[in-house]
Symmetry: C2
């Protein structure tokens, strides 16, 4: 029998953890520098909290936890069988499962806000970095367990919040040295475009078609629209949007002419311009108005944000937007907000591909003390303690194994410095430091060891 | 309908997170300073990996995850119902559940070592801080989801590893400013005591009885032993152990006389003395040989460690020991090691009760910029950015709300400094800094703001 990690889930080895922590620590440090507060919620939620929040497909993808103890009583056997026989799998499941694993961080956050509304100071700026679980078919780049890194600002309608989250995005990727384009759109603009050509219900079809412009050209897009129930007149009317181009300002000019007096559209442009202007004021240059951006149309009501890496082919690596009603599903009205979520796994892949992980995060241990025997070793323990107090990471090899074995350990672990303290060094109070990269050796007084590494 | 966190699980509010992170960060920093490497394993494991590793009781306490899709086929209905009817709940569960949530970090670590044995450098010093889940009845201080903070050194028999883990324990609690006693025992000594009085199979009964000495006195303990099948002669023989007392050295002297020529006992004392001597050499004073310590007798084979807080009534807050065979259950022989686990929840309660959480961890945001309107605000955004670069955490209030409301936000959030930049300050390039603790206000040049906070 072979024991393995569950399909679609991953063990993280030390080096992977060091790289992942680099990403999480960078995101966390930026969140914290903006005064965001961390919260955590439990891995499992009551299914009543989760079900119906992610559509039928989402309900199926929830991992459900079998009730403890006698999970199905005899008198329910036949009802249970009926549900399964009739292919009501979710209903059958809910007879034996009360709890499920969280599917995202948003629904648990909404429940959290409702439960703790009296302990929260509004506007509430929270961040949350925890794994989520989805019973998806595992495939390359899609996992059943993955981390989300969310930040939201709730209880304030100010567009300064959109601006701050974009500033955070810009800062995170600048710290990670990853060139990105921040794409910005507004749900109200999409709604207005659909409304202007008389198809308010077809926002998605329109944006999906526009998005294919690069691939299939103007003619192809127009053909697709015709196939999707738009008239030649609709397509004609939409042409300025299909041909929209240029700088943010130029695009907004085209759009304004198109939208004309549509109230919702004017509001959308106003919001868009406000955020773009503020971003300019704080020197965020890599932001682009992208009319094809249409993520989260089910819940976003204002700004829509998405981030793409410039130098590597990869889907969206961060996304977010403004929503009007976070907690309504749990009975608390009028909590609007704006949020973003960093896609840690994709960011990891980008940094890996572009070799952007800094060398210094690969080193876990700075100094290894070779073990020459009991007496020498005791001295090493004390010196290691000193170095640790000075902020270095040190190991003392636990066995007085052969020198070769101990040096091999240092090599395999990528430890940059090895300290040697044998009988001679004990008697004259010195220690030999070997630089494992250059091979150079230097002898210093034991009292000067800490100074040496400063 | 009321939506709440699942019973026995917890939401963590920002202030709780700050305190919890203080504990986790302290433990992590010490682990890292000793060159321990972090790993993570998935929340869910195959039930075949988990079942049978924690005894019958443990199997019942595993949270099992319902298989996705059609989890029970019609042709299996009757077999399934038979299992339930015959009260074979675990068997029935295993027909519809392939996976479960991890119950501890040790079994997943063992699987990890077997799976990745070729990617690991031995001796392998790993740490792992992740939640675990147990379907226990929730009660005060017992949760269904809680974090474990484990460190293990595997692939080395050296007693220096025991010493290093005790050093780590001492460092962590010294950093947390929590007075503790580190209790040390050795499984071999317990076995020898049982052997000397001719009851090798009754280690547990003996230690449990000795442990009650403080509560029920010598006579009570001896009576309990008689009730548990020991003869008057056994009890007579055991008396020196029941009366064991004094310093570590004195206790060891008494024990040596008692154990005499028992080989296993001599080995146990040798191990114990080695570790105690090394601890003395590195100035660890708060360590005590405790013959009643008998945790983990099912798997520990050498040293047994436990930590008690001195100034607060609380069970063991950290524990660990030496084991001979970590990975045998997964087919890899001869991997021995030694490990410890910090009990984060209990440590939290100790620090809370003794008010040992430092004030500085309670502050999340250092500076709030009051929002006087659009123009002033833009200047604040740039100044906030400057301060962030200098390492401060800053917020700019998102709305130009009433001053009172903004000041109240600063108060409720415990923000120590508020910066005010109105029309006047814009025109003369200054900014007013209000210290929220003292109420003092000071006007400085905008160019000197960063300097002010240094």
């Amino acid at each position: 029998m072979e024991y393995k990690a569950v399909k679609g889930t991953r063990d993280f080895l030390p080096l992977q953890m060091q790289k992942r922590n680099y990403i999480f620590n960078t995101i966390t440090s930026v969140y914290k520098s903006h005064g965001f507060l961390q919260i955590e919620t439990p891995a499992m939620e009551n299914l009543s909290t989760l079900m119906g929040k992610y559509g039928d497909e989402g309900d199926k993808l929830l991992f459900k936890i079998l009730d403890s103890g006698i999970f199905l009583r005899q008198e329910k056997f036949s009802a249970f069988e009926d549900e399964i026989t009739n292919n009501h799998i979710n209903k059958a499941a809910s007879m034996i499962c009360e709890k499920g694993l969280r599917y995202d961080l948003t629904v648990p956050f909404a429940r959290f806000v409702v439960n703790h509304q009296n302990d929260i100071v509004f506007p509430f700026k929270r961040y949350q970095i925890q794994p989520v679980w989805r019973a998806d078919k595992p495939q390359k780049g899609r996992y059943r367990e993955f981390y989300q890194c969310d930040a939201d600002i709730i209880g304030s309608d100010s567009l300064m919040n959109e601006t701050e989250l974009i500033e955070i995005i810009a800062e995170v990727f600048s710290k990670l040295k990853l060139n990105v384009t921040i794409k910005l759109n507004n749900r109200k603009i999409l709604a207005a475009i659909a409304s202007v050509i008389g198809h308010e219900d077809k926002i998605t079809e329109i944006t999906v078609a526009i998005d294919k412009l690069d691939k299939i050209g103007l003619e192809g897009v127009e053909q697709e629209l015709l196939n999707n129930g738009f008239t030649a007149q609709d397509v004609e009317k939409l042409r300025p949007i299909l041909l929209i181009n240029g700088t943010n300002e130029e695009k907004i000019k085209t759009l304004s002419d198109f939208i004309a007096s549509n109230e919702q559209g004017k509001k959308g442009i106003e919001e868009l311009e406000f955020v773009l202007n503020k971003c300019k004021a704080i020197n965020i240059g890599n932001i682009e108005f992208d009319i094809t951006l249409a993520r989260g149309l089910n819940y976003y009501t204002g700004a829509i944000v998405e981030v793409k890496a410039n130098d590597v082919a990869m889907g969206s690596i961060t996304g977010g937007g403004r929503y009007d009603n976070l907690t309504g599903i749990f009975g608390l009205k009028d909590v609007s907000g704006v949020g973003i979520s960093f896609g840690a796994d994709r960011i990891y892949d980008c940094l890996e591909e572009l070799q952007l992980f800094p060398d210094e995060i690969m080193t876990a241990t700075d100094v290894l003390f070779i073990n020459f025997g009991e007496k020498e070793n005791e001295k090493c323990l004390l010196l290691a303690k000193q170095l640790r107090t000075a902020g270095l990471s040190c190991e003392v090899y636990p066995d007085s194994a052969k020198m070769q074995k101990q040096m091999k350990y240092a090599n395999n672990r990528n430890i940059p410095f090895v300290c040697l303290l044998g009988e001679n060094e004990i008697s004259n109070g010195t220690i030999v430091i070997k630089n494992m990269l250059t091979g150079n050796q230097q002898t210093v007084n034991q009292t000067e060891l800490t100074e040496y590494f400063k």
